[in-house]
Amino acid sequence: MKTISVTVNGSVFEEDVPERLLLVDFLRDRLALTGTHVGCTHEGVCGACTVHLDGEAVKSCMMLAVQADGHAVTTVEGLARDDRLSALQEAFARHHGLQCGYCTPGILMNMTDFLTGNPDPSEDEIRHGLIGNLCRCTGYVHIVRAVKDAARVLRENTGGAR
């Protein structure tokens, strides 16, 4: 057992965890933040578990919880502010960027990070950015559209951020 202190969505959590506990299970089972999903767990290929570690998109099934000690994690529950969805979340709703929603939290976290580094992406760049997230439902067309539109909204609101 190891005591870790992790800032999740702005709040500090101090917990005793077994060394082998995966970060994704820490978030879901300990902190009850079940918005972060588990799709594959073994190979780390589906991206459903994507969260931000110090602002960067990472797969939380590919990390031990103890590795996050001293770091800041953001999950999909941390995207909305004051009950207002983020621009990307709103664009997903507007463009039907989800069907069953299983892949959605991971895609939102990955693409939120992506848009920070690339505020005016082409369709090709968006598709390349999405490689680490599998969606079985949508065929990606509406997801790509939503990301592109969110980028537009974010650019128009620069200064107003998010």
Binding site: E19, R20, G44, E56, K59, N110, D113, H128
Partner: protein, 293 residues
């Protein structure tokens, strides 16, 4: 999938502390953890069942890219994302950026490191063949404070095998100052975009003042014996000007001389065809870069 029970988690602050932690365990009982993109898979499938995990994230000596008199040194913990974004990498070593920019996906590139990849030396991987093609060297340190440099030709011994001893840590991957008119490129073909290479090829060429090829190195990935040089193709490119015909002849020579395997990703003949088609594209790009285009 859970890793098996892990008894200790260490987060050393220096190379000396990391090696000391390693020394407290029997060989194989403690492992270094870099980006975890291979180690976590191996722990979850229980191929690896370490008693101790030594997390290298805080070891500053393993971080960062340095350049001195044209030589390039990438700290073992340099992540793919940083390599792909490093516009200061010279044309001689652009293959590093080609490879890093297409490893897996964004999330993998945000975590995975060059040091982890060459230490793991998986058959279907991008960095080992790239480092071999670019005549890189691995700088290793042992607990007694000694260091040694092992060139790629001696470092990669076969699938999942390297010359790193159990008591050593990889500090950095180094590349010597390139001669003038030198260019390199890497590309791969996988079952889906940016997937593990079914075939991956790194080409590095040096030209004289008349654009004639005076040095050539070619390395392959995806073959059953692990990353390897393709000497038939290297010899064939020498003295050429890297025109379409010369490149095609060189790639044919490689395709006909290397041993390719059949597996669920591709059969042996298809792999030969991939060597030809991917190889032509990569070599043309390496020559163009050497010419400054």
């Amino acid at each position: 999938m859970y890793p098996a029970r892990i008894e200790h988690y260490e987060r050393p602050q220096s190379v000396a502390e990391a090696l000391a932690a390693l020394g407290r365990f029997e060989p194989g009982d403690a492992i270094f953890l870099a980006g975890g993109m291979s180690a976590m898979q191996a722990m979850k499938s229980r191929m690896l069942q370490p008693r101790c995990v030594i997390d290298l994230q805080d070891v500053a000596e393993l971080q960062g890219v340095t350049r001195e008199h044209g030589a390039l040194r990438l700290g073992a913990m340099t992540r793919y994302a940083a390599i792909a974004a490093d516009a200061a990498i010279p044309s001689a070593y652009q293959a590093l950026r080609d490879a890093a920019a297409h490893v897996g996906d964004r999330q993998v590139r945000n975590r995975g490191t060059i040091g982890g990849s060459v230490s793991w030396n998986y058959v279907a991987s991008c960095m080992p063949a790239t480092v071999l093609g670019l005549r890189g060297a691995m700088l290793l340190a042992a607990a007694d404070g000694s260091t040694r440099r092992v060139v790629a030709d001696d470092f990669f011994l076969g699938p999942l095998e390297t010359a790193r001893r159990d008591d050593e840590i990889l500090l950095a991957v180094e590349f010597p100052a390139p001669p003038a008119h030198c260019g390199s490129a890497y590309a791969k073909w996988g079952l889906i975009k940016d997937a593990l290479p079914v075939v991956g090829i790194c080409v590095m060429v040096g030209l004289d003042d008349d654009d004639k090829c005076v040095s050539a190195r070619i390395a392959l990935s995806g073959l059953a014996d692990g990353c390897q040089r393709a000497s038939a193709g290297e010899a064939s490119l020498l003295d050429s000007e890297g025109d379409e015909q010369a490149i095609a002849v060189a790639m044919d020579a490689i395709a006909e001389s290397v041993e390719t395997q059949s597996d669920q990703s591709a059969d042996a003949d298809y792999r030969r065809q991939l060597i030809r088609s991917v190889g032509r594209e990569v070599a043309a790009r390496a020559f163009a870069r050497a010419r400054g285009q």
